[in-house]
Structure formats: C-alpha cells, structure tokens
C-alpha cells in the first residue's frame, strides 16, 4: 500500500495470483519420489462468500460448470466454522493435472465475476502409506505455497512440513515468512 493510500485510508483489495497453481503436478511427482507422499486426488478452493445475489449466482455457475465436465468430477460444497466456503473437487489419484485445471476454473470464474479478492487459498491433499496427511496450501494473494500437516487435536507436524519445504523448494514458490503458514484445521478433503 502506497503512502497516499495510507494517508487517505484507502485499502485496495488484493487481486489473486492464479498461474503459479500449475506448478503443483510437478511438485506432486517430486513429493511421491522423495517422500512417498501420494496425491489423494482431492483438492479444494477456499473463498469468502460475499453477500448478495451477484456472488451466489457466480457460485452456482461454478458448481454447474464443474459438474458438467466430461469426466464428471465430484464437487462438494462445505462451509467451515469461520464462514468460509470450500469447493472440494475429487479426481482419480493419478490425475493431479486435471484436478488443478478444475481448481483453476473455479478461480477464473470468481475473478471474471469481479470477486477475485474473495479467494483465500487452495489446498491439494497428499497421504503416505502410514496414513500421514499433508496439504499443500496455495495462498492466492501472495502467489506462494506452504505445507500443512495436521496431527489431529489441533497440533501440526512441523518437522514433516519443514521436510516437505526442502523437498519441493525447487518446484514451488514456498512462502518464506513462516508466520503466514496459517493452519487450516478441519479443511475438507484433507
């Protein structure tokens, strides 16, 4: 925010950065090879629904668009306890590319409708053989990723997260500011 905006108390809503999301399929291969973490085929987009007709119309369009696709992916809508909406897309586990394309379709619909600033994050989930869960979270406003590994009971596995950071650091733009790795407890699809 510039000096003048501060002086005049104007906040410009931050537009989301969308394109970096397409780096996820490459990172998925790395994660599988290096750490045995396999994509579950589930991904979700989290956004803050705005009130009013305009937003609910767009939300409806997005849902129809996704459920009309040729492979007919399953789309599920849930609201979390913070009032954010999660659109969960399910694909087969080996097709991360198609999953990311679907997630991108949600994003561009919201941006085209003028609601880009409402996008919060997107989450692609992974799992290893022993059942450890990991989410790769993409922050739209920063255009960066961070790993989130919940242990249940609102604790997170920081060691695993830092290990993942090292593994996929070359593939993804990892958020450098650790204080922005906010936990998404109870994120659907994780």
């Amino acid at each position: 925010m510039g000096f003048l905006d501060t002086l005049l108390g104007r906040t410009k809503p931050v537009p989301p950065k969308l394109d970096d999301l397409f780096a996820v399929p490459t990172a998925a291969i790395t994660l599988q090879a290096a750490m045995g973490l396999v994509p579950t085929g589930t991904g979700s987009v989290c956004f803050r629904a705005a009130e009013g007709r305009a937003f609910s119309d767009i939300e409806k369009d997005v849902r129809e668009l996704l459920s009309m696709g040729s492979e007919a992916p399953q789309v599920e809508v849930t609201n979390d306890s913070y009032g954010f909406t999660w659109l969960v897309c399910r694909h087969s586990a080996d097709d991360v590319g198609a999953l990311v394309t679907d997630l991108h379709a949600v994003n561009s619909s919201l941006v085209d409708g003028g609601f880009g600033p409402q996008l919060l994050c997107t989450l692609v989930s992974f799992r290893n053989e022993s059942g450890r869960r990991l989410g790769i979270v993409y922050l739209y406003k920063r255009g960066t990723f961070y790993p989130f590994a919940p242990l249940g009971d609102e604790r997170r596995d920081n060691a695993l997260e830092l290990q993942v950071r090292g593994a996929v650091g070359a593939d993804l733009k990892i958020e450098a500011d650790l204080s922005r790795w906010f936990p998404v407890w109870g994120a659907p699809g994780l």
């Binding site: 108390g9 906040t11 009013g52 906010f182 936990p183």
Partner: protein
C-alpha cells in the same frame, strides 16, 4: 482485467484530504503567529513556546513509539497465543484468515477482560500492531460473522496506519494545549515581575497573545482532529466490509455493540473514555446535545455508518 466491485469512495477521500489540508494550514498559521509574536515583542517569553513545543514533541514521539504498550496496559489486556484457550484460538483463526485474504502481516492478538463488548487496534505500524478484543465481545453476543466483521474493521485500522496518522495529527493540538497552560501559569506567577526586566515591557502582552493564539489553535485543531477521526472510522468500516464481503454482518455487529454499550452503567463508561479514539464503537456517556456530540465525537453516528455499509452491500450485489 475483470471489472472491480471495490471502487474507492471519492467523496470520503476528498473530505479527508480537505481535513488534513486544513489541519496543516492551522499548523502553519500557528507557527507564523508564534514567530510573529516573539519577533514583535522580543524573545523574553520564547522559553515558554520552546518548552511547549519540546514537551509536545516528546509526548507525541512517546505515544508514537509506545502506543501499543500504553493502550494495552490502559485496557489491562494480555497478549495471547493461538494455544491459550478456545477464545484465543478463535480470534487467531479469524485473524489468520483475514491476513491471508488481505495479504498483510499478522498482528499480535490480545484479550482484555471487560464488561464492554469492544475491540481496538494499536501500534504504529503493521509489525508492531496489536489487535485487542474484550472478553464480553466473545461471550456469544455476536455470531461468528459479526465477530469477523469487527476484527476486519480493526485490521483495516492497522492497514491504514491509523495510530500513526492520528498521533501525528494530534501533535498540533498537544502543543497548542501546552502553550495555553504554560502561558496561563506564566501570566499568574511570573508575568508582572518579569516584564519589568524586559526592555520593552511586553512580557505580559506576549503571554496574553500566546494564550489567545493557543486557545484558538487548540479549538480549531480539536474539531479537525475529531473530524479526521470520524473519516478514518468510515474508511475502516468500508475496507473491513469489502475485505470480508459481508457489510451487513458488520452493520449488525455495530448495532448490537452500540446498543450493549449504551446499556452499561456510567462508571465503567467514564473509566474507558480516554481510550475511545482506538475503539470499534465509542463509549460515550451521552451527556451533550445531539449536534454538539456529533461535532466532538471520535466516531461517526451509527446511522452514518449503517448507511455507508448498506451502500456497499448494494454495490456488491450488483
């Protein structure tokens, strides 16, 4: 580029610019008047002006750098981490998400035990910022969306650096106020005696003139600062409502919180009044007449704030 639903309010921007311009103008006039007075009557009383400015500067710098500590200890607030109980976890969760939505660094979070449902943000920049909510704001009176609206409003204050802006704006008023006080005491205790030592004997006149200039400047700057504060509140309401996309939730939180505050006993209210400038909703004890209260208030009237929020709501639904 897709269309934007987040157009800035040009009217508000213009009014705020004008207020700050007038404040600057008063400051320049004040300095010129002081120089003129001291030049015309000799610098015998220059020490008073010098002390007023030095002390005013010290107070302003002090409150600029320690605003977070001062406000937190005045509100008896305790800083909390995300693990410190369900209340703290909830506030941290909301703040985390709003920070990610607004792309801003996370402020620290504090909770104050108070029967008044309210919230404030303090700290001179985003890194030093502390967001404080009172326990009674969290006790279930507000639903989660309303609570989020209140927190988004406070985070907009942080983003707009309102503590820094208002501290600098108050500088003028502080100096003028100190000058009035010093000149008044000078007049009482030293004016007559010292004027004999001055070559032109103008000491008493200078003090009187300073008193007059100080009073005028203080009065004008007081009104302008209050006006500026009200515009900053409207700007924070606006930014907060656009951040969550839920202007109506903020509106209903405002209605509830204002109603609750008006019902709290007087004694608590007076104890909290000095902190008003930073609060989400003002705790005025409602003594003065309506028009005078509007002019002196740090916050816009509830009607004005609700009106703006319903305009934003319409804008979002288009």
């Amino acid at each position: 580029m897709a269309k934007t639903r987040y157009a800035p309010d040009r009217g508000l921007t213009t009014r705020m610019t004008l207020t700050m311009f007038l404040l600057g103008l008063v400051f320049v006039a004040f300095v010129i008047a002081l120089i003129y007075l001291l030049g015309a009557f000799g610098v015998g009383s220059g020490a008073i002006a010098f002390f007023a400015i030095a002390l005013g500067l010290g107070l302003t710098v002090g409150s600029f750098f320690y605003s977070d500590k001062i406000a937190l200890s005045a509100a008896r607030a305790v800083e909390v981490g995300p693990q410190d109980g369900p209340m703290a976890a909830k506030v941290h969760g909301i703040v985390d998400r709003l920070c990610a939505l607004a792309d801003m660094p996370k402020p620290r979070v504090a909770i104050a035990r108070s029967p008044m449902p309210n919230a404030f943000a303090t700290g001179r920049n985003a890194k030093k910022a502390v967001l404080c909510v009172t326990t009674s704001l969290m006790d279930g009176r507000l639903d989660d969306r309303e609570l989020e609206g209140v927190i988004a409003h406070e985070m907009s204050h942080v983003a707009h650096k309102d503590v820094a802006v208002m501290t600098i704006a108050s500088f003028l008023g502080i100096i003028a106020g100190l000058l009035v006080r010093f000149a008044f005491y000078g007049q009482l205790f030293g004016g007559g005696g010292r004027s004999n030592n001055d070559n032109n004997g103008g000491g008493a006149i200078v003090l009187l003139a300073m008193l007059a200039v100080g009073i005028v400047v203080y009065a004008v700057s007081f009104l302008l600062i209050r006006l500026l504060s009200r515009y900053r509140e409207l700007a924070a309401d606006r930014a907060g409502a656009l951040l969550t996309g839920q202007p109506s939730a903020l509106a209903s939180a405002l209605t509830k919180v204002s109603g609750e505050i008006a019902r709290i006993p007087q004694k608590d209210l007076r104890a909290a009044e000095p902190l008003n400038a930073f609060y989400f909703a003002p705790a005025l004890s409602g003594k003065a007449g309506a028009s005078l209260a509007t002019l002196f208030s740090t916050h816009p009237s509830l009607e004005r704030r609700l009106q703006q929020l319903s305009e934003i709501s319409e804008q979002l639904a288009k």
